[in-house]
Symmetry: C2
Subunit: 703 residues, 2 copies
Amino acid sequence: MEKLFNPKSIAVVGASADKQKIGAAVMLNLINGGYQGKIIPINPKREKIFDFRCYASLLVVPDEIDLVVVAVPANAVLEVVKQTVAKEIPYIIVISAGFAENGDEGKARELALLEAIAGSKTRLLGPNCLGVASSAAQMNASFAAQMPASGNIAFLSQSGAFNTAMLDMAAQAKLGFAYFVSVGNMADINEIELLKYWERDEQVEVVGMYLEEFSGARELMAIAQNSRKPVVILHPGDSQSAQAAIASHTGSLAGGAMTANAAMQKANVIKVSDVTEMFNVLSMLSWIGMDDFGERIAIVTNAGGPGIVATDLIEAHGMRIVELSGQVQEKLREFLPGASSVHNPVDLLGDARADRYGQAIELLTDSDEMDTVIVVLTPQYMTEVEETAEVIAKLAQTSNKYILPLFLGGEKIDEGIAVFHKHGLAAFKSLAEGVQALSKIVEWKERRLQTKYDMAFDKFVGLERTIDLNEYLTGGSVTLPYFAVEQLMQQVGIRQPKERLVGSREEALQFAAEENFPVVLKATADQIIHKTDDKAIYLNIMSESELSVAYELLFETVAKLTKQSAPRLLIQKQLQAKDYLELLLGANRSGSSRVYEEREAGFGHLIVFGHGGIYTEVYKDINSAILPLNHAEIEQLITTTKVFQIIDGARAQMPLAQHLLIELIGKVQLLLMTYPEIISLDINPVFLSTTDCLAMDVKIFVG
Amino acid sequence: MEKLFNPKSIAVVGASADKQKIGAAVMLNLINGGYQGKIIPINPKREKIFDFRCYASLLVVPDEIDLVVVAVPANAVLEVVKQTVAKEIPYIIVISAGFAENGDEGKARELALLEAIAGSKTRLLGPNCLGVASSAAQMNASFAAQMPASGNIAFLSQSGAFNTAMLDMAAQAKLGFAYFVSVGNMADINEIELLKYWERDEQVEVVGMYLEEFSGARELMAIAQNSRKPVVILHPGDSQSAQAAIASHTGSLAGGAMTANAAMQKANVIKVSDVTEMFNVLSMLSWIGMDDFGERIAIVTNAGGPGIVATDLIEAHGMRIVELSGQVQEKLREFLPGASSVHNPVDLLGDARADRYGQAIELLTDSDEMDTVIVVLTPQYMTEVEETAEVIAKLAQTSNKYILPLFLGGEKIDEGIAVFHKHGLAAFKSLAEGVQALSKIVEWKERRLQTKYDMAFDKFVGLERTIDLNEYLTGGSVTLPYFAVEQLMQQVGIRQPKERLVGSREEALQFAAEENFPVVLKATADQIIHKTDDKAIYLNIMSESELSVAYELLFETVAKLTKQSAPRLLIQKQLQAKDYLELLLGANRSGSSRVYEEREAGFGHLIVFGHGGIYTEVYKDINSAILPLNHAEIEQLITTTKVFQIIDGARAQMPLAQHLLIELIGKVQLLLMTYPEIISLDINPVFLSTTDCLAMDVKIFVG
């Protein structure tokens, strides 16, 4: 992407001198941004624009062009793209709107652009975007009014407005970016290619993205997962209304929020949920190094009350207020006034000037009892806001601990905040905002250090496909019949309770005679699908006469529902619920059955595990994770539910057979890998005892 | 408090012309604040201070004095207070620090001040505070450098630094206050008196408080509960570390966070957890009227992405994005460009100028399909930030819907925010902050309209005290023995399973013969207290021989533990757990046994209800509420747990005997009201079936 971000020459198609026009804005941004390469305006009606020689079309430009920026009406864009391709220009940024975001006509227009570049050397960014700013090249090839300062952040956004807001915040906070990209509709160049490029680019240390949809969900996550650079993503759509809005905004269907969240968690992406939060987390990451922060926190404050409020917030966000050692307390005591508190939070008192702050912070950052020092300041009578900020900024530059300034107030405090911004140090005027952003990056670091995730998003190895599911693949979603489910269970070795499909009352009685009462008689999963309110299961059958009655009733019901003259029914050995814990295990596919082969096809299967039976509804104690899962991830899926306390033997009970449960989840995964046609799979309940793990009821949809 | 907040004359003891001194700051604040009454500096070393005639002591001042402000060293304060009392001056503000916050010596000093004013006409604010600002009187009787603009908010804080930060924020946002009070140690005048005064004061429409401890918890809540004015409280201490910090900060023990939270919820106090959040909620409440807002929300935006992000945030905070009617959509369509979205969030597109915003907002606020219109703006190429803000502010003033502007960006946006502040309209630069504050006040309004709470915090009526607990009141916390528990249960009619205290194996066998096996044999609650790891309960005893063995074993254990030669054991009819739902019911007292008579004694009893047995630990599905509870509140206690779904008959099960459970909680409450000596009470488990509700195991501590 070298020629996109660092072109030697840029042609602006639709260039204008009329400042109301986007073509003028792009020209002026290039000029005022300090771009050192050649600027070539294209406009058939002009000779010169802002003193640059103007050409009638790309075709007549004698010089070599690395990048075209086009801002002409939508219906004139195709011709420009064709000319770009004809001249073998490597990159074109299409700012113009009126494409896929704009109904069927727009979609057709966008398709035409893609056809024009297909097989060519030209790559296209946009359409419907603001453009690109690259600070190394001092290039603002966009119509955004601001050029970010140079720095170590790379940011991309599907929403131009999001970019604009971030740019304005960045200008105020003097936050620096290496790249600032508005990707628009991502018709060609997408977030995956950009992330790959930024991964290798040494200027970039932090990546931020606003993405309403993922171009290649699993691929993006695989890159993020392997990245040593933190990747921060705002992916809206957790709520129903937001999903509807995204659908109407981009014309695309939003993926399941649960799947996207599971994927981001697996990839250790830092997930944020607000524009400001995105900005805060990026600015904090932009400053700190990997080793300089952590969850052991000390607070230094000139204000007891706000120090206590910060303490509550820190613990609410899962971080820890460390207890200072006697040694550190004594050293603090040496220079602090008698009324100070040398416990954490360290209260320097209201009359603390810059030197007292400096001494205390230096002492704390020199100890190894904490990872992060939060400095709280309120503008009191004696407070030296600016001087204190200078002292803190200096210490922050030399210390190997992270120092996070949280200054509370209005105008008086702004001077201090400005000092921090001048030094590139993230600082906040809200305790909650600062603490929340810190907790996000602390969690990122911990997950990065502790958990080993399976990286092989794309290396699925299933079993041999011995079962032919083709007859069920009718284009829609189909329940697998009992026989096919049985075969699948047997292939991967998933154990079910003793059961038999019986075609007559005699066969049912025979099963009961062999296995003893109590038994269960029920319709099979594919029969139940047709079920309305009819009774489809008879539990606790204790005798031959009860079984006979149940058989006749159920036979009639199933015959009526399925319109079969001789339906077969399922008889099962009844297990005693009190001996087993009821769990739920399921899977859902996000994307098509080709999801593991095609990049754009979605996330793949999400495995869902949790407490079963009535408690599924009551406590919704359910975890989920996307494939593939290694042993540690399966363990994590189980151990992070609350019901795990029971599996693990809460209240001195015997622990249940967790290893069999892990095995079962592994087998389900193998099944999904072998038969990606499986849309959804439900084992509800799984019966887990101290020695046994059985799949009681299995429903599978394919398609 | 008229003479505290609107005095005709103020004496400043410790007045100075040296601007480094607090005595000078107070003088200058009075002068520069525009105070119109008489200012009388007191300083034996001066004739005049800032052109005001200075006196050597209060005693020689010829004029009448309404208020004394004192800022001399701690050890000189007592003499000033004595002179104030001698001159029958109604109010004294003690700014000086070095009192109860400062060890035993300080506590003694504070006590001496209280003794000096005891029985006099003088009331004292402080010590250890910043002072008072009253905007109606244009009086800044504090050493805080800023005087708030006048407005409808009354604010008090135990932390001077909190005040300082709020003042600086208020100055920047031009937020107006009627009263701004630093209460310091609250040795005499406390938050209750101030709230009472503000309740009656027509200037005041909103009250905010930062309180680390409550002077009279139940009284404060009773006033807040009855108030038509919203009361916003930041009461830190939810975390362990914060409670420790409060203890070291104020020298007092923090009350239980659970009890305080239950009390604030009952009183419908708006609970906030950050300084900025306090400011945000106050500024929002300061603007809006009771009828102008609600949870049905429409968004107007010039930015699709941020509109979607706002949608997620709104739904995550429990509010609702309404679907616009076809009629409203059509009207929007009439003037919006074709590419706009007329669904909610309404996307005006990036080129929306002030007029387009105005037209859309007016149309929405004129419809009755929503309560609140959130206006999102990002600074795009065509955006008229200031003009749009002016248009919004004008509409906000005339509309009966609440309009909440959320403008995203940095410097460009600040101009717009300044416009809102000029008009007194709350506006935010963060989606999350604005949405969070709105959700707090929407919840306040809903609770206020929907739930009727029992207001009679102080009108406890128990039964006749027929049981003498005196012998157990030894000064500490004591377990009640079985007999006393039995008597208490019988007095209020709490049903227990069939059980008997038996003194011999024969008596045990006799019980089993009468009631049939299975039975349970166990130690009584007071015996178990001594228990270490010894087995104190034998379940599922099915035969005479099993019972004989169990009796011998338990007898030996209890005899050893209790050192009684002939302990009696408890035999119970065993109930089948599968027929019952196990619940937990408990109570804890916060404060002394005189809590219902003495104002400072604490909150009283907290009743705790939730899922029992193993699930208590697993899901912590527990609710709590403080006494007294009316029928609706008891219902709410039960119905807002998750386990209520089972009580209510989840998955087409028969509903359980909820009315018996309500009755049981009522009986427990009656017991606590009759015997406030009860420190804690635990019924674990309560067995609830479709027809029955039994207290299985009851433990009671008194003291």
